[in-house]
Point group: C2
Chain length 244, copies 2
Amino acid sequence: MKATVVPINVVQLKSVCSSCSLRELCLPMGLSPKEVERLDQLIYARRKVKRGEGLYRAGDAFSAIYAVRTGFFKSNVILEDGRDQVTGFHMPGEIIGMDGIGTDHHSCNAIALEDSDVCVIPFSRLEEISNEVRGLQRQFHKVMSREIVRDQGVMMLLGSMRAEERLAAFLLNLSQRFVIRGYSPSEFHLRMTREEIGSFLGLKLETVSRLFSKFQEESLIGVQQKHIRILDTAGLKKILGQGG
Amino acid sequence: MKATVVPINVVQLKSVCSSCSLRELCLPMGLSPKEVERLDQLIYARRKVKRGEGLYRAGDAFSAIYAVRTGFFKSNVILEDGRDQVTGFHMPGEIIGMDGIGTDHHSCNAIALEDSDVCVIPFSRLEEISNEVRGLQRQFHKVMSREIVRDQGVMMLLGSMRAEERLAAFLLNLSQRFVIRGYSPSEFHLRMTREEIGSFLGLKLETVSRLFSKFQEESLIGVQQKHIRILDTAGLKKILGQGG
DNA sequence: CGTTGCGTTGAATAAGGTCAAATAGAGTGG
DNA sequence: CCACTCTATTTGACCTTATTCAACGCAACG
């Protein structure tokens, strides 16, 4: 990174947690203003990631976790034989990279699906500071735990839902996450391809495409390429009840 | 076991981490003897769980995580409509219950598949002590991270493997975990039913049963009810390469 | 022994995958 | 601005895999 002459103070001021609009979704969630100030000292770096580029790759040495600020990421794992499993999609306010803590190396890739921006949270400093700031320690543990619970949800989805249910659950999940971030719950733009959705849901891209068409015929959603309108949330939820 | 006249001190002495035979697999892994002594202060309680009983249930208030000492557990999540997804099997030395940290309530059930025994690790004390014992903090974070990575592996399995591959991967995984614990890697007793295996692998119990028979015909394994002999590890590994 | 739960096996079926062709957009360079 | 290219998407026909439904066997246990 080139060291250009930039009004560093201003940029840094804007970039700290205490003045970040995502603070109630992100690592600072629930911390007192004083505690958030300590967090500000921790998060000094930002990193831009262009669409298609990796924030980290499987095998990379682990040094930091990341908070998505803007943009959209996918995580995926690739087997030797080339098979590629998308393990998650990540939106602003979400923390990624925790897979690297256990082995000091990342176990998956994090790829930007659009030009994105992350806060770099150096992990050893996070551990240090969380010793002094109890709220931060607690919050970090919660974030990790929620990741485990999220993964359980994905296992449920992959292990015991039919294709229709998986896609319905996926759309409802996205919708919910968008609304928390102040976007419309009923109208949004998919950042990922049908193939990536399929990989995440354990389906082939053709199946995903067919299901989108089917949901559209049934007036549950409107689809135009990557633009989705959810027309009947209740109807989608009803689909979820039907596979047992 | 009959309650004979036992010198209680001795029993308690035996129950601390520093003299536990699982210490190199469990939370104390990698800690210095001094650090393990601090851990001893933390883990004062034990709990027995009979086969079929729950260590905790979804919705239970969260207060502690647990280290499996003896026995065997499954974790599962149950949907409103009754569908039941097994999300993991847990052996001695493994830490369970971390799903509860994020919401202060457990999100899944932990059920003993045989009479079992766990160390109770009160979570708020773990957080306290990990502030003083850096190695413990690090180790705990590693344990959580590895759980996330394990879950990624399960997603890979459920999302992009064929039935044969799933079962092969499952058997190889069990084998590896047994050998680490000093048991035979090639001969073991399944603690779970075909249905539970199926649930974990996203398959029906009949499919699991058929695959066991098929693997047996191909001389990859020997099966007799719950008793498994792995005859051809390389053969099982080869199956894993074949779905892409 | 009879019961009960678990496991195995077979035949029919359905769900989703594969292969192939057509179409639609987005981006690029003339 | 338009033609061209490339990629993503849609859709159809056919096929494979795993599920469903059903019957039967086995072992443990009272």
